[in-house]
Symmetry: C2
Subunit: 420 residues, 2 copies
Amino acid sequence: MAKRNAFYAQSGGVTSVINASAAGVIEACRANKDNIGTLYAGQNGILGALHENLIDTSKETPTAVASLKHTPGGAFGSCRYKMRDHNEDSSEYERLVEVFKAHNIGYFFYNGGGDSADTCLKVSQIAERMNYPIQAIHIPKTIDNDLPHTDCSPGFGSVAKYVAVSTKEASLDIASMCASSTKIFILEVMGRHAGWIAASGGLAAEQAGDPPHIIIFPEIPFSRDQFIAKVDATVKDKGYCVVVASEGAKYADGALVSGSLHKDAFGHQQLGGVAQTLASMVKNSLGHKYHYALADYLQRSARHIASKTDVDQAYAVGRGAVEKALEGKRGIMVTIERGTGKKFSWSLGEAPLSKIANVEKKMPRAFITKDGFGITAKAREYFQPLIMGEDYPPYKNGVPQYANLKNILVEKKLKEGFEG
Amino acid sequence: MAKRNAFYAQSGGVTSVINASAAGVIEACRANKDNIGTLYAGQNGILGALHENLIDTSKETPTAVASLKHTPGGAFGSCRYKMRDHNEDSSEYERLVEVFKAHNIGYFFYNGGGDSADTCLKVSQIAERMNYPIQAIHIPKTIDNDLPHTDCSPGFGSVAKYVAVSTKEASLDIASMCASSTKIFILEVMGRHAGWIAASGGLAAEQAGDPPHIIIFPEIPFSRDQFIAKVDATVKDKGYCVVVASEGAKYADGALVSGSLHKDAFGHQQLGGVAQTLASMVKNSLGHKYHYALADYLQRSARHIASKTDVDQAYAVGRGAVEKALEGKRGIMVTIERGTGKKFSWSLGEAPLSKIANVEKKMPRAFITKDGFGITAKAREYFQPLIMGEDYPPYKNGVPQYANLKNILVEKKLKEGFEG
């Protein structure tokens, strides 16, 4: 069989290391020129395939490709696009296969989270049904760390490090202000369904009693009374209180803590945010002066403080996807397996996509302290290695120098554009 | 005259480099043991002097003192405390002089912003009136960069670097999401009266058209229509729009943009924040999906990404204060003077406190583009050197290792406590 081309796309919310995975894929393809033709990248994720907007990665210099390893965001564009349900209408998947056929694409590398794993699986299945041979391999990525069958998800470790470092730094700030001013600091972090990111704030603490004093997990039903009591006790004991709160914090009835207080001038419900809502509660109950920060995109794009472990793993899963494809694998996700020894180690593994798609890995209850406001030693053992090591980008004029790709599109071969 | 002791205190909002100034003071005092006795630090700023809570810095090891150079926050505690008006009631100032007398303190080093410069001046004047010889010297510190007669204020350069880096990183994130999702990203930064910090977001741009596309300064009256028009044009041109907004943004009538839309469930006016308010405007006018981040304390405690220039200057003004005291100077603030050559250089100078106290340095209009939404080349020339260089703290277990002082209080000599 003639040498076939490959396709790579980035999907969903980007991370500070998803481009390291891209670099892994590109460099591994280049190292296997005898077996793999051109690697095309989808412009804006899977939309690039649907619209036949394919970026020719062979036009990029080795230096540009290497610089992806220290560049946050999605260098080829990502997307939030929900594919139509293939049971009701498989036309989108069929369109993908048509585009792949037109460009002799035999390898489909898809870099994303749980939803993307499902897309990857469907591509694999429908191509098979259409009798078009393609090796679909999923490359894990999500700051939410909720992919199953992998020790962690690339992207998470760097967010975790950002949150741990920021929590530690802001804690020193408030500790020095609390005698006469601000007594409460709340950091709101991402994680709509799982508390992995909020939990990582706990790594700021070196000893029992160190900040953060309270972590708010989506997994633990929020109790206003318990929260206020804990803030009160902490301020009485330490003079101040540091809180790391997940945006997904919920009451026992499932209602989000955020957005529950505020309407804007136009009467629209505002997602005022968890931090803001918690701060209001504290102010109204205890009267303390507060500050809060909303890390938002800063946390997932903070390549300047990325975890070396995370960068290495992100690159490795990219390379690994190509290598596994060359071994004939298909319909799998590349996974990270933690070694069992006392010293942290990891290697690549794989899991069938059927076991990955649409499964969400929550924080184990054993990772959360009994009172629901902290992380356990067991959690710490899991999290600690994931934030280890620094991997600074190069700087010029005081700011990091990030990749600047040419992103040249190849000529379209199909007459009809996709009407998505 | 017998060898006299010295007093040092940190005042107001802390920065990521105020402890570098502390290290400069301590190390310079230690290097001049023949002339200066013990250096006491005020616990929680000037409150430490009023309450006779004096920390004996001689108990700290040289290693601990050196580690202050890479530790954010205020290592001895800071405070927000408004001294009573000395014209109406000078008892607080007299109390300070009493404490200084009791501990044979002949040097008063005060590390803060404009208000603190005023306190420092008053201490100098009242001590003189009370016939107690003391050399009061002010050490500049404020992230707001609004102190006059100095090229910049230590603390500012590091916030500026944080804001520039964060803006650049988040811009890459949104650029990769905008095709199918978020189109607006707003970063809210500090600076209630002056736009120096917001302006520094402009350093994220390397070429015309690069993000941030809009900067909102407190100096420029905010116009909703002009803002929305600029967002609309930017999204049409670039596909997305990045905004850096100062918390102090105001309408022409002086009303803050923040807090103008929201009330909480209890009917209290909420300082909902500028970013949130601007995001609501965009959503309601243009319908775009948005994200916003509120950097809050993270920006002023982010020692992990401090500017090397800023760290060096912060340390130098601390050392310089002691050296100038030994030259017999009093009633001055140590200043930073920029060299006139093409290559950036700086040295220390001084200015009389009477010219510093209660004067606020605003952004020159020439630093802001004609349309009021960006920074000029002239501004860039000023800002650029201040964020140059990285000065990473040491890491352990994935997080920075910051100073851990003993902070041992000396025995009180005065019977009566201060009833402040």
